[in-house]
């Protein structure tokens, strides 16, 4: 039965995340925007709390998870009527929306909730999943000479005895300084192309791994963004996530599968951040005497109200596309196309909504007295990382048109 309301059973989870966002993230939001690179120590308290909630079984966690199907969950028995599943993916996007309604940068700085954790959850075997449980893992893909064309990375991993030796330079590693480990993309043999790209878990303190720089950014300043070099950096063989085989038929799919899981999460971040802007702007407009009417034709309302309705309609679309991508993952349905659609729509809507809310609120929106200008800065990265707007459009277009990356470049 078609129903697009957030699942009833996740209401307590969403309510908790909302209270945390309101009472812990928002009060620290401006502070760590101003003092970039200071560690938001309030988050340690929060992380402990989240762990406690997880242990009590009261919540599915507030941060990134992957799309592993639980081993003890065989799905519906044969012959019984199919019924829908609302699981950890929906729970994740819903709680991330709430947290990013609070603060995107602080959500990205949540201990043990890094994007690397999502990669581990998605690609790791059972032994690895157990071994890296509780580790705060960041994700290192981008290099100075390679951004969206991640198949072209030049960081290498060379097998030497029981170790891989990693060499190269990574940039834009979110939580790269604060994390416990970095999931690094490196190639086993550049000549073999995409199929040879594997991900490796490199624990902090491993000799040869050095954080060389922290970036100064437009937004999400409370989140540290690191440049990291790897020089003769040795990790045990079993830290390679997934299969070490270079399967040219499998190609890039294994590594890219992570994105199917993380893109809805980033879309959820944009949705949460934009909702903060919409809610505050609506209240500011009401104080200014503008009432948004859902029944009167927009042509008969003020330009501000008409603009607001258009922004809210785009937001609604981004929200529902995100829930759909997560719902498909919960039900074991391939969602690569839908994940990219969600990321594309939410990414551009995030920027559009937050920027136009600044405009609607005038200098009140532009000033640091309010958070509208900050949300307009924070949201920009969400249309860039985990695949830019243009990369999402490429993925959607290739899929719809049945074209290869050689045909549609």
């Amino acid at each position: 039965m078609i129903n697009l309301e957030a699942p009833q059973k996740f209401r307590p989870l969403v309510g908790q995340a909302h209270q945390v966002a309101m009472n812990l993230l928002r009060p620290n939001s401006r502070t760590y925007d101003r003092s970039e690179h200071d560690y938001p120590r309030e988050l340690d308290m929060l992380a402990a709390m989240v762990d406690g909630l997880s242990a009590s079984g009261a919540t599915s966690g507030a941060g990134a998870s992957g799309v592993r199907r639980e081993a003890d969950d065989p799905g519906p028995a044969p012959g019984t009527e199919w019924s829908t599943r609302n699981g950890s993916n929906l729970a994740s996007v819903l709680s991330i929306m709430e947290m990013c309604w609070g603060d995107v940068g602080l959500l990205l700085s949540m201990p043990r909730q890094g994007l690397g954790n999502s990669a581990i959850a998605s690609v790791a075997d059972d032994e690895q999943a157990e071994r890296f449980r509780g580790v705060w893992a960041s994700m290192a893909i981008t290099e100075p000479g390679c951004g969206s064309d991640s198949a072209n990375i030049s960081t290498t991993a060379r097998l030497d005895g029981d170790d891989y030796v990693i060499d190269g330079e990574k940039i834009y590693v979110t939580a790269g300084e604060r994390c416990d480990a970095v999931v690094v993309w490196a190639t086993l043999d550049k000549l073999l192309g995409r199929a040879a790209i594997k991900s490796f878990v490199v624990p902090k303190g491993t000799p040869g791994m050095t954080v060389t720089r922290l970036e100064h950014k437009l937004g999400i300043r409370s989140s540290d963004t690191a440049a990291i070099t790897f020089t003769d950096c040795r990790v045990p063989k079993r830290n390679l996530l997934g299969s070490p085989e270079v399967d040219t038929n499998e190609g890039f799919a294994g590594a890219m599968a992570t994105f199917d899981n993380t893109r809805p999460l980033v879309a959820a971040m944009a949705v949460g951040c934009a909702r903060a802007s919409l809610e505050l702007t609506r209240e500011l407009l009401e104080e200014a005497g503008v009432v948004v009417d859902y029944d009167r034709p927009v042509q008969t309302q003020t330009a501000a109200a008409a603009t607001y309705l258009q922004l809210e309609s785009d937001w609604e679309a981004a929200y529902l596309l995100t829930l759909r991508a997560a719902w498909l993952a919960d039900n074991g349905t391939p969602n690569s196309l839908e994940a990219s659609m969600a990321k594309a729509k939410a990414g551009r809507v995030g920027s559009d909504v937050t920027l136009r809310c600044v405009e609607l609120a005038g200098s009140v929106g532009y000033s640091e007295n309010e958070l509208l200008e900050k949300w307009a800065r924070d949201s920009k990265i969400l249309d860039i990382f985990e695949g830019t707007q243009q990369i999402q459009q490429l993925i959607v277009a290739r899929r719809l048109l049945g074209l290869s990356s050689a045909q549609l470049k």
């Binding site: 039965m1 078609i2 959607v396």
Partner: protein, 454 residues
């Protein structure tokens, strides 16, 4: 100059334009050049007007005419104050995009109808501004008029069917929006009677819709003026004893000339209300009003001049009028989904096959990204519309969701129609391809009030 509603005579000129003597002379020349006499006495026997254009032209020109040649007598039934009300669907509380088995079966049937009966006659129906009997009958045969009528009153559903109605409208509009509107119009009136009718109204009118000989009927809410707001209709009903006397003009009335029953939006005592008006009423006239698109729906204007109806013809309350406007907008959103999907289905093979500069144009990002965005925005429209529909079916407040769906479907749906023509270039501008029709049809979303209802 009086602004009669018949006046297409200003030719899009604003009131600031003034004729000078040369202008007057040119206007006289134009009058001579465009007269019928010129057509009849064209040298060399040339006649530039095709028969179909002439038919539309004549229909438009013929102006007012009284309806009522084939009106049936609706047998009045006494009211015992026990109207049937449709219960809401019970939600499961889970996020789910899977239609019920009943909905899916219905969609499959309508999809087949749209592909095999509707689409093949869409271009011709558009040209002659008429829905063929074959399409209308096929719609009746699969039960379109009783989709919103509860079992108890001879319909099919035990509970609120706004979701099923949405899925059906979408599937039908994939065949053709104009024909979908023509086919769904009687169901809009039957649904309104089911949702808000008194026992007398339900017993008097619904049997005609649940039988074999379903009357044409129209839900008439729109009026012909800029910035029209259905909550403040200019069509007024005034109390006169036990009667109401109605005066005003409604526009975008689906198949008005054929309709035997209207549900009309009127102002009464400062509130917008719905009123049941039979087509045989004195003072009621219909004028053909061919428009940019939806031509197969034979849009018309309904002119009411001192039309007298009993006060019992009021349908529902002022709140029900608000609900009616919302559910009608929702139906238009559903229609936009089908037509926008038709655009996407048409452009994908086209851009893959069309070669320019030595390769398919789909190999260029500027083309491919337009296609990607059509798909992204179409799914956006679909999900927002479905949310509104599922809330309506479950009896949840849906004012916000309908408003957002209407905004999105009007904006993005039109963009999809626009891009559909653009992707085909010159081929999109000519009637060799259906994209120009979809372009015209998709402009209706955001303009229309009434006509269809889920």
């Amino acid at each position: 100059m009086a602004r009669s509603i018949r006046s297409a005579s200003r030719h899009g000129l604003t009131a600031r334009e003034k004729q000078d003597p040369i202008g007057v002379a040119v206007a006289v020349l134009n009058k001579i050049a465009s007269s019928d006499a010129l057509d009849r006495f064209t040298p060399f026997g040339l006649n530039l007007r095709t028969s179909t254009e002439r038919a539309v032209y004549e229909a438009t020109r013929s102006g007012f005419r009284t309806v009522g040649l084939a009106n049936r007598q609706f047998q009045k039934v006494a009211d015992r104050g026990r109207p049937v009300r449709v219960p809401s669907a019970l939600g499961t509380g889970s996020f789910d995009l899977t239609p019920t088995q009943d909905e899916q079966m219905l969609v499959d049937v309508v999809t087949e109808l749209a592909a095999e009966v509707v689409r093949p006659v869409a271009a011709e129906s558009d040209a002659v501004a008429t829905a063929p009997e074959s399409v209308l009958k096929a719609g009746v045969d699969i039960g379109l008029p009783i989709l919103g009528v509860p079992e108890e009153l001879g319909g099919v559903h035990a509970e609120r069917s706004a979701m099923a109605g949405t899925l059906v409208a979408e599937a039908l509009a994939h065949g053709d929006m104009g024909l979908a509107v023509a086919s769904l119009a009687p169901g809009a009136v039957a649904t309104a009677l089911s949702l808000w009718g008194s026992e007398e109204q339900q017993a008097t009118y619904l049997p005609a819709f649940t039988g074999d000989d379903v009357p044409a009927a129209a839900l008439a809410l729109t009026e012909p003026r800029p910035l029209f707001d259905p909550s403040t209709p200019a069509t007024r009903a005034v109390r006169d004893g036990d009667d109401l006397v109605v005066t005003g003009t409604k526009s975008a009335v689906v198949r008005g000339a054929d309709a035997e029953l209207f549900v009309v939006g009127v102002e009464l005592d400062g509130e917008a209300r719905l009123l049941v008006v039979e087509s045989g009423s004195d003072g009621l006239k219909v004028e053909a009003d061919p428009s940019m698109g939806l031509r197969a729906a034979s849009l018309s204007r309904l002119v009411l001049e001192d039309v007298r109806v009993p006060a019992t013809a009021l349908l529902g309350t002022a709140e029900d009028h608000v609900a009616c406007v919302r559910l009608s907008r929702l139906a238009w959103c559903a229609l936009s989904l089908g037509t926008a999907q038709a655009v996407l289905d048409h452009v994908v093979p086209y851009v893959n096959e069309r070669v320019a500069f030595g390769e398919p144009i789909s190999h260029r990002q500027s083309v491919a990204f337009m296609v990607a965005n059509i798909a992204i925005e179409l799914d956006s429209m679909r999900l927002v519309t479905y949310r509104a529909a599922s809330r309506a079916a479950q009896g949840k407040d849906h004012a916000r969701e309908v408003a957002l769906a209407r905004r999105l479907c009007a904006d993005r749906g039109m963009q999809i129609g626009n891009d559909g023509v653009q992707l085909l270039g010159g081929h999109g501008f000519v009637k060799e391809h259906p994209v120009e029709r979809w372009y015209r049809d998709l402009r209706a979303i955001g303009v229309m009030e009434g006509g269809v209802l889920v």
